[in-house]
């Protein structure tokens, strides 16, 4: 494996079945994502963006093709190893924030660290991350006491708290107004730049796309365009 490649997708397909009805969400996607990328996946609704993120996040399995994350073929991973991969190396940010409603902002961040087995130092780490993301004063508030923008920042804090190498974000700004979307993207960009965290996010938002180093366009389950912002245009997969 090339050490710089975090995600390697080779001709992956995904078919959903409901009774006799089949829906092909991905039709042979081939894509490499090197470490440090700040990659936006764009495309119309139903183009397969979320499906691709779910596969990379080991939340689902491809119907065919090979998908490696951190050099490990997901097809050969047990349920427990997949959970371990998500816990130790991946961070998720969802469109609808998806914070645990009965926990405070700080507890939401600490939860992941506790699952990782971190001891007493987890409280300090959670405080540090919340401070870094400008959320220190909201640490003891529950999600329903926070604005949408604040909740999404807590979700980012939860995702980055364990210092994962890769963060997957599904439409992270879809529910945010312009100002909050800008703040969030700037925050993600800073983490990418300062910590070297790789971001792969799906979006419809042109304000977000503007910040990406690389933009991959999915249409009808196929990569139709793969563009690097410094001018290089990568060949879309066959």
């Amino acid at each position: 494996m090339d050490n710089d490649i975090l995600i390697r997708a080779e001709n992956i397909t995904k078919v959903y079945r409901a009774g006799n009805v089949e829906a092909q969400a991905l039709r042979g996607v081939t894509l490499d994502v090197p470490a440090g990328d700040f990659l936006a996946i764009v495309g119309p609704s139903g183009s397969g963006k979320t499906t691709f993120l779910n596969l990379v996040g080991a939340l689902d399995s491809p119907s065919s093709g090979t998908l490696s994350v951190f050099g490990e073929d997901l097809a050969h991973m047990s349920k427990s190893k997949r959970a371990d991969l998500r816990l130790r190396h991946l961070g998720f940010v969802f469109q609808a924030y998806n914070l645990v409603p009965v926990l405070t902002a700080r507890e939401n961040v600490e939860f992941v660290l506790e699952l990782q087995g971190m001891g007493s130092e987890r409280a300090a780490r959670a405080r540090e991350v919340l401070l870094q993301l400008g959320l220190a004063e909201f640490a003891d508030r529950r999600p329903n006491e926070l604005s949408g923008g604040q909740q999404q920042r807590v979700a980012v804090a939860r995702a980055v708290a364990s210092r994962p190498r890769l963060i997957l974000a599904d439409e992270p700004t879809a529910n945010l107004d312009g100002e909050n979307a800008e703040i969030l993207i700037e925050m993600m960009r800073t983490l990418n730049r300062d910590e070297g965290t790789t971001f792969v996010f799906s979006t419809h938002d042109s304000r977000v796309v503007r910040h990406a180093d690389r933009v991959v366009t999915l249409e009808d389950g196929t990569v139709t365009r793969d563009e690097r912002r410094h001018g290089e245009l990568e060949a879309p997969s066959a």
Binding site: T50, N54, G57, L59, D60, K79, S80, A83, D84, R86, L87, R88, L90, F92, F94, Q95, A96, N98, V100, P101, V102, L103, E107, E110, F111, V112, E114, L115, Q116, R158
Partner: protein, 413 residues
Amino acid sequence: MNLPITTRYALRSLLRHKRRTFLSVLGIGVGCGICLFLVSFIKGEGDMMMRAAAESGVGHLRVAPEEWLHAQEMNLRLDNWGALLGMIGEMQHVRVATPHARTDALLAMGTRTAGVILTGVDPAAEPAINRLVRAVTEGEYLDAGRRGEVVLGKGIARRLGIGVSDDLMVTASGKGGEMRGAMLRVRGIVASGSQMLDNGLCQVLLADLEEISGYRGAAEISILLDNYERIDETASALRERLGEDAVVVTWQEIVPELAAGVEVDETWTNLVTAVVVSVVFLGIASAQLAAVLERRKEFAVLSAIGMKGHRLVRVMLAEGVILGGAGALASLLLATPFVYAISTHGIDFSNMYGDADMGISDILLDPVIYGDAGWWLLPLAFGLSLGATMLSSLYPAWYALSVTPSEALRVEQ
């Protein structure tokens, strides 16, 4: 309090639907509370039956000749019963030990007769082990220094038409088959409240019985302990000391019909307890499953952030433990006043039984049943409640485990 986040999550998850959780706890409390009350009552009833048996002359334990186990004949006698009685009387936990012997006899007064089982007793010890003879309503109980006297049940006295100080004729079959007779004077009449017992009670001094029957000695030694929980321990100790000629039998072996009654009652209680706990179990399982269905997406998110299956199961079981603990406290809170009331005031079934006879197998049962109360309520309450809630958490936990994160997130987005 610095609880782990997982525990806080479990606790607060229960509190997010306070009314549902309250009703669940109340349901467990009522269900388990009913079980506690029932068990208290049945234990009390069992204790009453055993006490009634023990204090109706049967005792907790009996030492009898070895053949008694097979023949149960009245003419069997213990060898060297005096020494045995002395040895038993010195044993730990023995409150009273007294000899008995019996023979079939016919009482006659003029033209009236009554067939009875004549019992020979030691009048000094008998009232301590036989509460029936404490109910002498006319005259007095037997006196060791006064030979040739008899104490009768009221029913026998009425049938023979005799009263205190009257003389009657007693005849019995002797050792060699010959007819033996004697005159007895009525010293006292017992009215126990049970027609059956009052028709059967007929006691004389052991020495008088020896003379009437021709058989020497005691047929058995009845033993009353200071604590019925020592029955097995004392029986074992006795068996070690006795030779091969004598056996130790428990009250359950002496009056198996009463022991069977206690067992039937206990079986019914266990059955009712199982039914109530099952209903509680299904109710809690349903509420827990509803809670899991509502949290499908949340579980999907937890799975996405790396929570493993066993941790998810632990969260569900922790919710079960919290619910079970609260349910146990609720059941104690609800049941304790009732258990206290029946253990101190009892439940009087006199009105329900009316004129029904409270005697069974020469044993006088009490119409008032006192419930049993003690520290055993605590482990039982927590055992029942936690058992039901932990079990009822298993299916929802399994369901939570089977949630596919990508599907749950896609469907609910």
